[in-house]
């Protein structure tokens, strides 16, 4: 348990994929955490607390991720970051609760309900509500659903069917695809047969590139609305012009002062890769944790208490309104701004 509160040293565990297919995303999160910590140490707003972070590779695999929770717990960590994908978060739920270890998770699934797991990415349901807003704004009625068969797509698909089903949108078609499939055009063709006004696509990063490429190959001009992951810079790099007409949402506004300073600092720290929601959410989560240390205390119990009661955390880069952690999912639908890919760049809409 958090006997650390006496000493000035606190341990924070980070279990993210640093190897394998999604290691790039894992490293983006890590950069966000590191940047925030560096600033905190420089600006001295950590006071006498010194935060030590233990970064471990969970290979995005539940069987590896769960032992890491006990590892951190045993080492006396007072909080942890983890779970790039929802299954990992679900697997860890039991362990974090047993250890009383609060965790910031990046998985977006709605089935993550554990009182110790705080989802710093917008839940699927929130992102999907935003899809409805999008349709309303462009007065689209007929929606085609396109999701991958992996963790991201499948967890979103249930929500899509449910929420869009209740909305006044008409689901004309629903197709799935393998994230690493050699070719996606057949599914797109059969989706086009239903001629939807637009396609709601939920997946992670690079498959968006494959899809827009496929869309170009079959000569289909339909607009596609993706989730936050559609903003992955790889999409622009790979698809270039073909990505035009692909919309995505991001919790990262560009109007708030916090977001602007973050953008500057990030550009200074990591000139090679542009700021995306991954870096930003991780950065914000670390900010929250630091607040918890200062205002709550540096024991697990204290951190958990503080987080579970935090109703309005100001000055974060992500989200329009202050974070309310009582439902453990601070980013809501209208915290998400829309952006659009244009010739390899993203523009606000």
């Amino acid at each position: 348990s958090g006997a650390q509160s006496a000493s000035g040293e606190v341990l924070v565990g980070v279990a993210l994929p640093f190897s394998g297919a999604v290691s790039r995303t894992g490293n983006l999160y890590r950069k966000g955490i590191e940047l925030r910590l560096k600033q905190a140490e420089e600006s001295g707003d950590l006071g006498d607390i010194s935060v030590k972070v233990d970064y471990q590779d969970d290979a995005n695999n539940p069987s590896e991720a769960v032992p890491l929770v006990t590892r951190f717990a045993q080492a006396g960590a007072v909080a942890m970051f983890g779970a790039h994908s929802s299954p990992v978060a679900l697997a860890q739920a039991n362990a974090v609760q047993a250890a009383g270890l609060p965790e910031f998770v990046f998985g977006a699934s709605n089935s993550i309900k554990n009182p110790f797991q705080y989802q710093v990415n917008a839940r699927d349901s929130e992102q999907i509500k935003n899809v409805i807003n999008f349709a309303a704004r462009n007065n689209f009625r007929r929606v085609g659903i396109f999701t991958d068969t992996g963790a991201y797509g499948t967890s979103a698909k249930q929500q899509l069917d449910a929420i869009l089903g209740e909305s006044d949108l008409e689901i004309v078609g629903s197709e799935t695809f393998e994230p690493n499939a050699s070719n996606l055009t057949p599914q797109l063709v059969s989706l086009r047969r239903k001629n939807p006004d637009f396609v709601a696509m939920f997946s992670f990063g690079t498959p968006y590139a494959a899809v827009v490429k496929g869309r170009a190959e079959i000569g289909w001009k339909v607009p596609i609305v993706g989730n936050v992951a559609a903003g992955d810079i790889a999409v622009g790099e790979i698809a270039g012009k073909d990505a035009d007409g692909l919309y995505f949402m991001t919790p990262l506004g560009d109007d708030s002062p916090a977001s602007r300073t973050l953008a500057e600092n990030w550009a200074k720290a990591y000139p090679e890769d542009p700021l995306t929601f991954e870096g930003a959410t991780a950065y914000d989560a670390m900010t929250v944790l630091i607040r918890a240390f200062k205002e709550g205390g540096t024991s697990r119990q204290a951190v958990q208490d503080w987080l579970s009661k935090a109703t309005a955390i100001e000055g974060l880069a992500c989200g329009r309104s202050p974070w309310n952690l009582t439902e453990r999912a601070p980013i809501k639908a209208d915290d998400l701004a829309f952006r659009l890919w244009k010739t390899g760049e993203t523009v606000a809409v």
């Binding site: 590779d57 695999n61 032992p67 697997a91 499948t154 967890s155």
Partner: protein, 327 residues
């Protein structure tokens, strides 16, 4: 080499006592570890014991019969999901027995489908079966919970132990039993028959051994420990999902048998230590830890065909020699 003509010195042929002793040692070791280790170490130890248990199955299949299955994750899944679902609706007893029966059935089916397929083709067919089972797991949402998997799985409570320790004790005990049975199987007529079919089909047929039957038996026997291991994995992680049922898991299982020294009775245990425990100890290597794992796999498979057994026999040979020279 050869002995003096006339009276051949043929060794004491079975070592029942030895195996019993070793099995007991495994069981005691597990209990001891569960008592002294912290939760994290206990979790790793339990994971090792679980994979060792599964390794017993592959050791029998690969080591005795020479069949390479890249699809044994099927039985892993049956065990895990079986336990997860059946314990939800009460019956622990049922959750223990039913999956095993299902596995035996599936094993029999697989063998029937692949009866005429041999060598690499067999390996690839089982690989296909493994892939199919993953697709199945992903799509049979009512049973498997699809990609979200099943969380909050209960475990067998062992009085006097906490958390992972309980699983460690249970899997350790089962492992001990499996170890003993595996070792005596090796020396029983059936074990010898398996070995014969592994090396020379016509010869074994001329000895009256029906290759298909032996294959069937071997496959069914090997499926049981893997199934039980699956159930223990579900108990240890309290969650089960498709990501744990990937082809990579199947490969791990074979790797355990090969690295340990397929056919050797200690292969599952030592192999599991290398394949499961070592990577945890290698965490300092960060992203190069898998590179190391791969190198180990390739090296052992290509240059140490009898795996760790080779090292052990070599070492014991050295010891013998030393004794000889001194005394």
């Amino acid at each position: 080499m050869a002995t003096t003509p006339g009276a051949p010195r043929v060794p004491w042929v079975t070592r029942q006592g030895v195996y019993l002793g070793e099995a007991a040692a495994i069981a005691l070791g597990a209990i001891l570890l569960a008592a002294v280790l912290g939760p994290h170490e206990a979790q790793i130890a339990a994971m090792t014991a679980i994979f060792a248990l599964a390794g017993v199955g592959l050791n029998i299949l690969v080591g005795y019969t020479g069949l390479v299955s890249l699809g044994h994750v099927v039985f892993f899944a049956i065990g895990a999901y079986g336990w997860a679902r059946l314990t939800e609706s009460g019956g622990v007893g049922l959750a223990l027995v039913l999956p095993i029966l299902v596995s035996l059935l599936v094993a029999a089916l697989i063998v029937l489908v692949t009866l005429r397929v041999v060598g690499y083709y067999f390996g690839i067919t089982t690989l296909a079966i493994g892939l199919l089972s993953v697709v199945l797991v992903q799509n049979a949402t009512p049973i498997t919970g699809g990609y979200a998997g099943i969380s909050g799985i209960q475990q067998i409570a062992v009085p006097g132990f906490a958390g992972p320790g309980q699983v460690l004790v249970m899997s350790g005990l089962v492992l001990a039993v499996a170890y003993y049975l595996q070792s005596s199987l090796r020396e029983s007529p059936l074990g010898a028959a398996m070995l014969a079919t592994r090396f020379d089909v016509p010869a074994s047929q001329s000895l009256g051994l029906s290759v298909s039957w032996i294959r069937l038996l071997a496959f069914m026997i090997s499926s049981v420990p893997v199934t039980i291991a699956g159930a223990f994995l579900a108990q240890l992680v309290h969650y089960i999902g498709p990501d744990q049922m990937s082809m990579e898991t199947s490969i791990r299982l074979i790797a355990i048998a090969i690295i340990g020294g397929r056919g050797w009775r200690w292969a599952p245990v030592l192999g599991a230590v290398v394949v499961v425990t070592l990577p945890e100890l290698l965490r300092p290597l960060a992203e190069y830890r898998l590179v190391f794992y791969g190198v180990a796999l390739a090296f052992v498979a290509l240059f140490m065909p009898r795996g760790l057994n080779q090292i052990v026999t070599w070492a014991s040979g050295r010891i013998h020699a030393a004794r000889g020279s001194t005394g």
